[in-house]
Subunit: 314 residues, 4 copies
Amino acid sequence: MFQVRTDLALESKEKFEEDNVEVKGVRVEEEQLAPEIRVTRVYIDTENGARIMGKPKGSYITLEASDMMEENEQQQRKVAMELAKIVKNMMPEQKEQMSVLVVGLGNRHVTPDALGPYVVENMMINRHILQEFGPCALEHPDGKIVSAIVPGVMAQTGMESSEIIAGIIGKTKPGLVVVVDALAARSVRRLNRTIQISDTGINPGSGVGNHRHAINEESVGVPVIAIGVPTVVDAATIVSDTMDELVTAMRQSDTLQSLGASLSTLDDAEKRELVRELLSPNLNAMFVTPKDIDDAVRNLSHTVAEGLNLAFSS
Amino acid sequence: MFQVRTDLALESKEKFEEDNVEVKGVRVEEEQLAPEIRVTRVYIDTENGARIMGKPKGSYITLEASDMMEENEQQQRKVAMELAKIVKNMMPEQKEQMSVLVVGLGNRHVTPDALGPYVVENMMINRHILQEFGPCALEHPDGKIVSAIVPGVMAQTGMESSEIIAGIIGKTKPGLVVVVDALAARSVRRLNRTIQISDTGINPGSGVGNHRHAINEESVGVPVIAIGVPTVVDAATIVSDTMDELVTAMRQSDTLQSLGASLSTLDDAEKRELVRELLSPNLNAMFVTPKDIDDAVRNLSHTVAEGLNLAFSS
Amino acid sequence: MFQVRTDLALESKEKFEEDNVEVKGVRVEEEQLAPEIRVTRVYIDTENGARIMGKPKGSYITLEASDMMEENEQQQRKVAMELAKIVKNMMPEQKEQMSVLVVGLGNRHVTPDALGPYVVENMMINRHILQEFGPCALEHPDGKIVSAIVPGVMAQTGMESSEIIAGIIGKTKPGLVVVVDALAARSVRRLNRTIQISDTGINPGSGVGNHRHAINEESVGVPVIAIGVPTVVDAATIVSDTMDELVTAMRQSDTLQSLGASLSTLDDAEKRELVRELLSPNLNAMFVTPKDIDDAVRNLSHTVAEGLNLAFSS
Amino acid sequence: MFQVRTDLALESKEKFEEDNVEVKGVRVEEEQLAPEIRVTRVYIDTENGARIMGKPKGSYITLEASDMMEENEQQQRKVAMELAKIVKNMMPEQKEQMSVLVVGLGNRHVTPDALGPYVVENMMINRHILQEFGPCALEHPDGKIVSAIVPGVMAQTGMESSEIIAGIIGKTKPGLVVVVDALAARSVRRLNRTIQISDTGINPGSGVGNHRHAINEESVGVPVIAIGVPTVVDAATIVSDTMDELVTAMRQSDTLQSLGASLSTLDDAEKRELVRELLSPNLNAMFVTPKDIDDAVRNLSHTVAEGLNLAFSS
């Protein structure tokens, strides 16, 4: 059965609020950091909450800023600093110097999916300098030891990203993995203006290209922080949401009021049946993205990389 | 008012057939070239036909092949040979050796819009060889003299593509311009499996990035052949078509039959009103494209370039 | 006959100093702006100076900073501010608002030649905003009106860059052209740490890819400022310089002293004959470039674009 | 001490022939396959041969074709078929279906080093199809199971390519690794017209970017076939070879004959001393490459990928 898809915990929660469903085991905290930056923290505390939300237990922190995708150095810096704070708080404590493997998931040849690879291109990498010249050669001797990889997508490699990453972790033994990925949102209004930071890693079915295997502490053996930016909406989600808006629009439109009223009397099973029938099978492999996605992905990847570089340099 | 958008004359014609509207001044010829290649010729003969179709008078020839986007050398070669034939028939007769400027419209940094730039990268260019070494240095001495340009999009250049091209034509005086562009289709089923060849050039509002000014014989002073491949569907078009499918689906679904029937009694004005209300303004700057658009654009650009290279080499 | 090639006026002048040749009609001013930034101004005042230097009359200003190619935001900013000052001083005075066309010469697919295209990717373009929404929509209403083009190289387009640019200028009528290009230096020590700004435009034979036609006020009808960064040394130049170093090395090496002495007695004609014989014809189409040219070109193009954006925003 | 560098066993052998040194334990077989394709097989049979050649024991097969870098489909196909034959002969026998991991070494952002990444982009990958849909879904059911990875270079990842590959092999267990890399030749005449296939893997110090760790059966646990194409010459090698050519040129030039004669009386130690003194330390991080390296790398990567695809599809 078709389900409205979103990789944002924030949107999953909103969906239940729309439907007036109370979800036990999930807490939400909101904070307005500045006129233009908003932080929302969704905590999934119980297995029950996880089951209902369709996402693992853990923290999902969302940074939202309306002009995130524009080239505005000052604003990018502010967002990057908030991102750095959140990531630093989420990092596990370690006695010795922490080493981090940054993973840029996605396909560099598909613009909205290129966020992960682009972030990696802007990371300050120093593991090889430490290995070759020792700690004195590092710019920030107290910072983290940083390595990075762009594994590519399955059609390019024939391998699951999770296989590639688990193999590399087994060999290079980082203390933490940070996975950066482009996400699918439910609402076009969230595209390119939202960053989600989570301590749960990457889970099946998330991402633009539907990565199917988990990349989390359970599967790779070290803590995994996931950083995601929604750059697409599933085409099927747009259609499904249109269905809901149709009902609402009908209610509000004078000429159509009677129709809308009767349509809204359908129960949920009937609505789902209707949506299923409407969905062209072609739509499943399609996504919706803005026309200026090239600028958006470029600017967002700078911001995310700047935030991570800040978080790792001290 | 919102209009379902398609850059394919073939789809405009189909729309009228769906609505059982006869369009005078428009002729259609269909031909099945092989089990897997279909050619449809739409001729807009009169000003009246042009007004109704929303496209200028001229020939619009569509090549369709279901596996066009796959990497299949033999099939690509067949399609390329058909494309070459169509382009050669469309080229104006000239006494002296013809020189052609190939223009790759679109944004190379947005995957579904990169078709034009990629085609230019695969063109055999020889104008500079002729200028420097004379006709004996050409591989095909009887072929056309070929030059090419990727003008970039307005956000990158600050200039209309039409300004750039008209300037270059004024200086280099080609006898023919061939403009290659990614198009918007109405139906996701046509994406990446259709090539439209037209003797009318590029007209306002077509293309993925909504090029606004015409590039045709009237505006640039030489004949313009336009080659387009649909790689996206406008997000608004998906929503609008969903509306129509909703009505059909309702009629066919047992539980919803009565509702569908009453919805289908809306007249066209009421339907349009409903669609207008449904359309999120955000959707106007969005498009729908397949997840494997990188492979599709790469393979299609090889096919189109091969077809043009064949057409120009004799 | 082979001539040591450099696109830097500074190096041409140094060559004469090495050879103890006084060049009349050429003035040099040096200034240490900061411990790490050095400005050298070479003025070619007379036709005689131009003939001897092998470069047109005009000003050639060189910014040198040893760490220009590293990713160091503060240092990049300083260099960018000096570049902005120099460019602003060089711009012609105009009563009305100045419009500038920035041209990124070179081949984006050959790393050391990609500087021009990369600079254009980082420019703030606003001409289309002004055309569509009027002056109120501009971020800096008193700034320059900026457009940009990446014409590509002759093997890609079949056209001289000068033809393409002259055509575009004829159509869009900018008041100033700024051409950005990768250059060839004589010394590997100058690579990626030098920016030359000149009011003479681009002249035959300069650039990594040997652009052959002039792009200057005479050929395109508006003033042309050329901004160049040396990213390669001609392979033939390396060999030729080795010859000179060989003589010096021989003089200083105990075992070879007598040989070196006799070699140094060769007159210039004999030395040139020797060099000519040594040069493999294959070397003419070869260049020398550093292994980390990707980082260098990326960082330098950011600095140049930042400098130009600063110069044009007020 | 400086040593003339080449990654081609063929050139190492030629060097000894030039110097009239007989190398025991090394056999050479030459074959002219067609007027334009030449195959040379160098077998290093003994540890002594390996020590003198500076390369591990094993087979080094070189395909040479003068027009390999041009876009010529028929000639590319011939070379690809020969490459496929050589690779198939070199593959270890296995009872069950062989699985192959193709590794594209090098830096995709530095044109002459991008060969490996480009080859991977053109490989037919099927491991994921087999995993998901079973053997019936494969195009060539009797072919090899192919996966591929582009590990990136150390400055991008902070990790040795050998670490990344060993990790992935540990996880995905291929039966064979094929490593594709751009090489350094000694002579500019060999650039872009030579393919070396070897059963010894990648060894320290080879490749454009000086990969330092071995990727061979000993280090990764499975047989490794290395495929290399020389795209650069070390700048220091050019200078060193110039020294030799200088002596030869002096002997042949009338005016300089006496000088050349005396220079040629230097013994090898003296020559090396001279070369060492001539070498600018800057040159060590520099390479020489042709100006049209973009076309060369594109065409060569198509040929190599076509050869591998042929070898793996049956």
